[in-house]
């Protein structure tokens, strides 16, 4: 399926051409949107089912030498760690590596962006100026490594406004929260989501420290586990850097940063960071509100 509005399923085009609108807005948000002059025109959605083959190859991810990055990681973060013990053994991890898993990030981006652009294509087909109350989901479809990306939101048209000439804007906000955003001087531009993935292939010191046996090696003892800390900080920093690069000087509001860890084996961990929020643009200069007056609600 391509991303153009003309490639919408025929049934969807037929449905859109009918009179009644659909919307994911609650009644209070629906009312707030009408107050703002935003008229709902349809519940728009985008799907993309991605085969997550990259994960099944996770055991092959480590670089072949401590002097290069992992296969497929032509660019991005790579950090090597050398054993301080000078031991050579088939079981002793003489080197370790942290590396960015670009192929996973690319696959995730492809899935998310496809679903997003399909949702926006539906909005364009409806002649919408924007999409409010976007909800994004990511669910496994089956046990075969298939992940479904699903985005939905309510397409809106600005009352008494000229037909849209550009790509619609989008926001996770709806109703009163969107109204407050406008009143605060921020116009929505788009939702932004970035996922980054860093794999840790531990070396001996990390393995011992995680297992609590660092004390057996006199120079390890109780200490900060640098390799994991580096990976944890890097996976967050990469997500922030990626989001900042796509802001082009705008502001990210309501950011939500979450990091998940997946232990693949002893000392073999994958960290995934997801940062999402609303890209907004200031349309009027800073205009502070009066200092809020504290109230105690009697109820």
């Amino acid at each position: 399926m391509s991303e153009g509005p003309l490639d919408l399923p025929e049934a969807a085009q037929r449905r859109f051409s009918q009179g009644a609108f659909s919307s994911g807005l609650s009644v209070s948000d629906f009312g707030a949107c009408l107050d703002m002059g935003l008229e709902p025109v349809g519940l728009v959605q985008g799907f993309c089912a991605m085969h997550w083959g990259a994960y099944s190859m996770s055991g092959l991810g480590r670089g072949t030498t401590p002097f290069t990055g992992a296969p497929g990681a032509a660019h991005g973060y790579v950090q090597n760690y050398q054993c301080p013990h000078g031991m050579i053994s088939s079981e002793h991890r003489t080197w370790g590596q942290n590396y960015q898993q670009n192929w996973i990030e690319d696959a995730w981006r492809t899935g998310f962006n496809s679903a997003y652009s399909r949702m926006m294509a539906e909005a364009q087909a409806l002649g919408a100026h924007g999409v409010v109350g976007v909800i994004d989901g990511e669910n496994p479809l089956s046990d075969t490594g298939v992940v479904e990306f699903h985005l939905r939101g309510t397409a809106v048209r600005v009352l008494d406004a000229p037909a849209p000439s550009a790509t619609p804007w989008s926001t996770f906000l709806a109703g009163q929260r969107l109204a407050k955003s406008f009143e605060a001087g921020y116009a929505p531009v788009s939702i932004i989501t970035a996922v980054t993935s860093v794999r840790v292939w531990s070396y001996c010191v990390t393995e011992y420290l995680l297992g609590g046996t660092g004390g057996m090696w006199a120079n390890a003892g109780a200490a900060e586990i640098h390799q994991i800390v580096d990976a944890q900080n890097e996976v967050r920093d990469l997500a922030r850097t990626r989001v900042r690069a796509s802001l082009h000087g705008d502001v990210l509001h309501g950011a939500h940063l979450e990091v998940s860890a997946r232990e693949i084996g002893p000392g073999d961990v994958e960290f995934q960071s997801r940062l999402s929020g609303n890209r907004v643009r200031r349309f009027k200069d800073f205009d502070p509100l009066p200092v809020p007056r504290p109230t105690v609600r009697l109820s």
């Binding site: 609108f21 209070s28 009408l34 107050d35 703002m36 002059g37 008229e39 100026h129 909800i135 600005v158 009352l159 406004a161 000229p162 804007w169 996770f172 906000l173 709806a174 009163q176 109204a179 407050k180 406008f182 009143e183 605060a184 921020y186 116009a187 995680l210 297992g211 660092g214 004390g215 109780a222 200490a223 900060e224 586990i225 800390v229 944890q232 967050r236 922030r240 802001l247 000087g249 705008d250 502001v251 990210l252 509001h253 309501g254 940063l257 929020g277 643009r281 200031r282 349309f283 200069d285 800073f286 502070p288 509100l289 809020p292 504290p294 109230t295 105690v296 609600r297 009697l298 109820s299």
Partner: protein
């Protein structure tokens, strides 16, 4: 679609149209402008703006510190290795958070979300918050950058009342509950009786943890600690160890005297409204 008649709100409608269509007047973003990121809600940002502060950057800090194997199983008194590991991990994570905030031009970090996990062989501390500063004042302060787990709303109220946050203070203590003798254990098998070894261990852990948090507050020249959260209980992986962790935001009076905020009593005439969260639909 025919739109039902609604109460006209020309100001908001004008604002929306101005934001979306009056491109000429729009303060357009430029590639040179530094993008700002924040996990604050619009309400929180408006609160900050009302006292002349603004968000600058989403910042984070993480630390993991190891605990050597066997520390939890046998011994007496405090498990110092575990308490020390917790303190070091917290300090390291905070240092990283503050360094990021300082590099972004922040004067402090508010709404710090604290995720902690104590495992048998390591302690993990993760902090995420939004660096803030007085509006358009990127110059660094002479004093250090502060971190606070107070929300932007609470930070605003604190400042309005004439106080200022100085930093996060924490205290943690993990203590052995001495094992009972075989005779005592058998004797108490069928009795409803207080296990004083656990009670005393909990008191011991609490005193040490609260003392450490207080010492951190004094080091920061704080007057006190607000919004203290405590977490206590047995350790799931060690049957004879208990832990107590306390953390909060160190504050001090920034003005000559506390300013009364004098809240107004309100009686709402409508039903309590439920705030809509789009994510609840998924």
């Amino acid at each position: 679609m025919s739109v039902p008649p609604t109460t006209p709100r020309p100001r908001l409608r004008d604002e929306v149209r101005h934001a979306l269509f009056d491109q000429a007047d729009r303060v357009t973003a430029s590639a040179e402008a530094r993008a700002t990121t924040s996990d604050l809600s619009i309400d929180e940002e408006l609160n900050l703006h009302s006292i002349g502060w603004e968000p600058v950057e989403l910042v984070s800090g993480v630390s993991l510190h190891s605990i050597p194997f066997g520390y939890w199983n046998w011994g007496q008194g405090e498990i110092e290795g575990a308490s020390m590991a917790h303190a070091t991990a917290f300090v390291n994570a905070t240092t990283h958070l503050l360094r990021e905030a300082g590099a972004a031009g922040g004067h402090g970090v508010v709404g710090v979300r604290i995720d902690r996990a104590v495992h048998s062989t390591f302690v993990e501390v993760s902090l995420v918050g939004t660096a803030v500063r007085p509006v358009n004042r990127s110059r660094r302060l002479e004093r250090g950058v502060f971190a606070s787990d107070l929300s932007a709303r609470d930070f605003t109220m604190l400042m309005v009342a004439g106080w200022e946050p100085l930093g996060l203070a924490t205290g943690a203590s993990f203590v052995f509950a001495p094992r009972r003798s075989m005779g005592a254990a058998i004797q108490q098998q069928s009795q409803n009786v207080e296990l004083t070894n656990f009670t005393e261990a909990m008191y011991s852990a609490r005193e040490a943890a609260m003392q450490r948090m207080q010492e951190m507050a004094i080091e920061m020249h704080g007057t006190g600690v607000v919004d203290v959260k405590v977490q206590e209980g047995p350790m799931s992986f060690a049957s004879h160890a208990v832990g107590f962790v306390a953390l909060g935001t160190v504050v001090r009076l920034a003005q000559a005297a506390h300013r009364l905020i004098d809240p107004t009593m309100v009686v709402a005439l409508d039903d309590a409204s439920v705030a809509f969260d789009a994510r609840t639909l998924s």
